[in-house]
Symmetry: none
Subunit: 123 residues, 4 copies
DNA sequence: GTGGTCTAGACCACT
DNA sequence: GTGGTCTAGACCACG
């Protein structure tokens, strides 16, 4: 399982892990009943604290994406992928909207906002 | 001076104040040598901690938009509006970048991200 | 706020805190918009790690009983007390039922089970 | 020997095995000098780890219900059924006590706890 | 002052 | 081996 951590990002590590696992579930890279890497294994692989991985896994479990069996591991549960995608898109939309509104408050033209966006997406 | 605080927003209060002052400077609503309301006055008006207003003013001063004269108040300094615009664009760029990265972490395709962006900009 | 920790109990400390806060909310001892003791304050008072208190507070927030404002504190949100009571009773009922079924599997008579229960409740 | 495992239960598997063997001993279904199925046989039958069966058997031996003869198997020892009953009652008492304490943590009145208990016992 | 995140390591229970 | 809990302390952001 490939998780990429950006430790200089403002996004907490456990959220980065959680988001990437959610993406893998949605993409089908992780299927129902698949087992996630153990907390210790992933923590060593990513060179981060086991507690941080645990927090990500707890978060996934709280949202219903995984189930944990004591002494065995953490497993992917059945998920409605369509619903998940919609949720994730809404979250992204909210973030983009906030950014656009800020740009407009700054008096930046829509063309300029689009130019910036294009640079990021294509850069 | 009209500052509007949204305390339920995820944006820190001091950033909301700072951004709105910057926007007023660029729009011309605040001109060189204009005086900002005192920390105490504004904190009472907005019903927030004086420390928070102070932090916003400190931030403006650190960025060179204002100068504080001890015992007198905080004044707007001469500003290169071009430079300010560039800075604001960079800030917007950072916000957009974070949103795009999140979308990609979620496994949303660049086309879909663009579609959402278009909807927001044109909607 | 009086929280009592039984560190020799099998029940995790953070669950003990969470349950007692929930009980206080239901009893009215904690009302909407009341502020909980800060994570550090409570951790010192109970002589436990701040992380443990934090975990209890996170759990309360995830269940919707509290809302946290960064830099300010953790506040009690509006709760439907009737609904909360029903949930808690169902949880208790499940625990009691499991115990009774175990006793019956052991071939202990209902009279004996009731005697034990009476001893506990009155002891 | 019929052992039924509920893997979705909160009760550890080895405890489920141990309890059911103890119940069989007390009921007379298993008598002195009867031989238990081998660890490997039972683990295959129940599709669980041999280590888990071993742990259940170790636990039974530690409590004096069985004796293991190297290379031959695990045998039921003579048991004082009165003593066993007492022990089982203590276990039940502990479970009931935990449930009652939880109800009290939730602020549920003793009368309400008793009502729930009555419903379960008579229902 | 507050909460938010993270570390490095411990001990326990379950498989 | 696995997860579950807890510690003691660090650094950061916000008010």
């Amino acid at each position: 399982m490939r998780i990429i951590i950006n430790s200089s990002s403002m996004v907490p590590i456990y959220e980065q892990i959680r988001d990437q696992v959610k993406a893998m579930i949605r993409s089908g890279e992780l299927k129902e009943n698949d087992i996630l890497p153990s907390v210790r294994t992933l923590s060593k692989e990513l060179k981060i604290s086991a507690l941080t991985v645990k927090k990500a896994y707890d978060s996934l479990e709280a949202e219903g994406f995984t189930a944990t069996v004591h002494g065995k591991g953490t497993y992917v549960t059945a998920v409605n992928k369509e619903l998940l995608l919609e949720e994730q898109k809404k979250e992204l939309e909210a973030d983009l909207e906030m950014a656009v509104q800020k740009g407009r408050r700054y008096g930046i033209s829509d063309e300029d906002i689009r130019s910036l966006f294009d640079l990021i997406l294509e850069g």
